[in-house]
């Protein structure tokens, strides 16, 4: 089954207004930039982007365009704002959050990771110690009077928070290598959220720097088995500044 499509446009052609899309990347590293750019070009609106650790800070130009185009309804992330408060005040994304134009919801990073992993693995909910004793015992988003408490449970004398699986409509992932059947291999720390998001989404679309024949990635070296990947597009290796602020 050859899953390679000739263009980014065709790979995202069925994405409709209101879609929920997982965006991997840890700041600048491992972000599916080409797919994000195609999404900007397509102009899809009312999007919810579910992240893990600041991929939109790492793809600042793309975030700016998505914001200014009014394409974003909601962003979920563990680290989505500029570290510097003064820089944040100048940022159109943060301004839109402050103005109530984009909803912004926050979870601890490990909880985000586990929500995707659970979503992919058929686990509807799990208990975690992370966030106990903090405001993360509530659903935290930038709407003043809406802070819904999460369910908790004491197990063996310790308190835990119940968190639910996250299953986005789509995941965009960035791989170093893909074979034509969708087996993926990432490079070093660019793996980060790519694998779990690929498992969690209903439809996973991979951009890959290299596309190879089946068998070229040894079976023991596959990071994401092809079963999780529906579509593949070849992209150029991106270049970007590594630091964020």
């Amino acid at each position: 089954m050859n899953k390679v499509l000739p263009s980014l446009e065709e790979a995202i052609a069925d994405i409709k207004d209101g879609a929920v899309i997982a965006i991997p990347g840890f700041f600048a590293c491992g972000v599916p930039r080409a797919l994000l750019q195609a999404l900007i070009k397509k102009g899809t609106k009312n999007l919810t982007l579910t992240c893990g650790c600041g991929p939109l800070l790492g793809a600042a130009d793309e975030l700016k365009q998505l914001t200014l185009n009014g394409q974003l309804k909601k962003v979920i992330d563990s680290y989505g704002l500029f570290r510097s408060a003064s820089k944040g005040m100048q940022d159109p994304f943060e301004q839109a959050i402050r103005a109530g134009k984009i909803e912004f919801e926050v979870y601890p990073m490990g909880t985000m990771a586990e929500k995707y992993r659970a979503g992919g693995a058929g686990i509807p909910a799990f208990y975690t110690p992370t966030g106990v004793g903090s405001v993360m015992e509530n659903i935290v988003n930038e709407i003043t009077d809406k802070r819904t408490p999460k369910e908790t449970k004491v197990i063996n004398g310790n308190k835990y928070i119940l968190e639910y699986a996250l299953q986005p409509d789509y995941a965009f992932v960035h791989a170093k290598y893909a074979d034509t059947e969708g087996n993926l291999r990432y490079s070093k720390t660019a793996r980060n959220f790519n694998h779990v998001m690929a498992t969690a989404a209903k439809i996973t679309i991979a951009e890959a720097e290299n596309i190879v024949e089946p068998g070229k990635i040894d079976g023991d070296d596959v990071h994401t088995p092809g079963i999780y990947v529906k579509r593949i597009v070849k992209v150029e290796r991106p270049t970007f500044a590594i630091t964020i602020d």
Binding site: Y79, G80, A85, R98, A113, S134, K188, R191
Partner: protein
């Protein structure tokens, strides 16, 4: 009214002091800020640094031709690999963190109280309910030992070691040791125990810039640096 600020050790010296607690064979996660500086002091030790992004055994910062855009640490700095470095996905990385496999996590803080609660992820002055929580709460929940490395007071000399947190907490009751530019403090069920002071300071001087009442360890001594 703020207490009178005391000029303390430079940040690098706080990092040096923390590094003394890190033994050969340990797996350690260093947070952003002063904790990151600790890596300069453990070169040569047989210590494994974990980066939340999904790497064990991070090497020195990379520059020039060594920079690989696919190889960064959790502070988004280009780093190098070492023989024996490994990479893994984020669920494995946080499984490792939450699951109690990290011997020591060292974090920065905005405030800490006498019970070992600390606040580090969100400054309310920003005027937002949300903030950048990142992986800090997972590290607090899972590390075998949680240390805080920070300046003893704010730049304006206000208490950071307080009776009650006024900033949103990162975790409750998880911190076991506190390292500042003025002191080393053990956090025990009985309270904060002053173990070491900056050379030249008295325990009373440290107390003057610390809101909760300190228990002075009978063996309280000057830090060796």
């Amino acid at each position: 009214m703020s207490p009178t600020k005391i000029e303390g050790l430079p940040r690098e010296m706080i990092a040096l002091r923390v590094s003394r607690e890190i033994q050969d064979g340990m797996y350690v996660n260093l947070g952003i800020g002063i904790p990151t500086l600790i890596s300069n002091w453990i070169e040569g030790k047989d210590v494994y640094l974990q980066a939340e992004i999904g790497m064990l055994k991070t090497g020195a910062l990379a520059d020039g031709d060594d920079v690989d855009q696919d190889l960064i640490n959790a502070s988004c700095q280009a780093v190098t690999a070492l023989p024996g470095s490994s990479y893994f996905d984020i669920a494995e990385s946080f499984g490792m963190i939450r699951g109690g496999h990290i011997d020591i996590a060292v974090m920065g803080a905005l405030q800490i109280n006498v019970r070992g609660d600390y606040a580090g992820w969100s400054n309310p002055s920003r005027g937002l309910f949300v903030g950048n929580v990142g992986g800090s709460m997972d590290l607090c929940a899972g590390a075998k030992k949680l240390y805080i490395a920070m300046e003893h007071t704010t730049k304006d000399g206000e208490y950071k070691i307080v009776n009650e947190l006024s900033y949103p907490s990162t975790a409750e009751g998880r911190v076991s040791m506190l390292f500042t530019d003025l002191a080393v403090i053990d956090i025990t069920p009985k309270g904060m125990v002053l173990k070491e002071v900056m050379p030249g300071l008295t325990p009373e001087m440290v107390q003057s810039v610390t809101e909760p009442k300190l228990i002075i360890d009978p063996n309280c001594k000057e830090m060796e640096l």
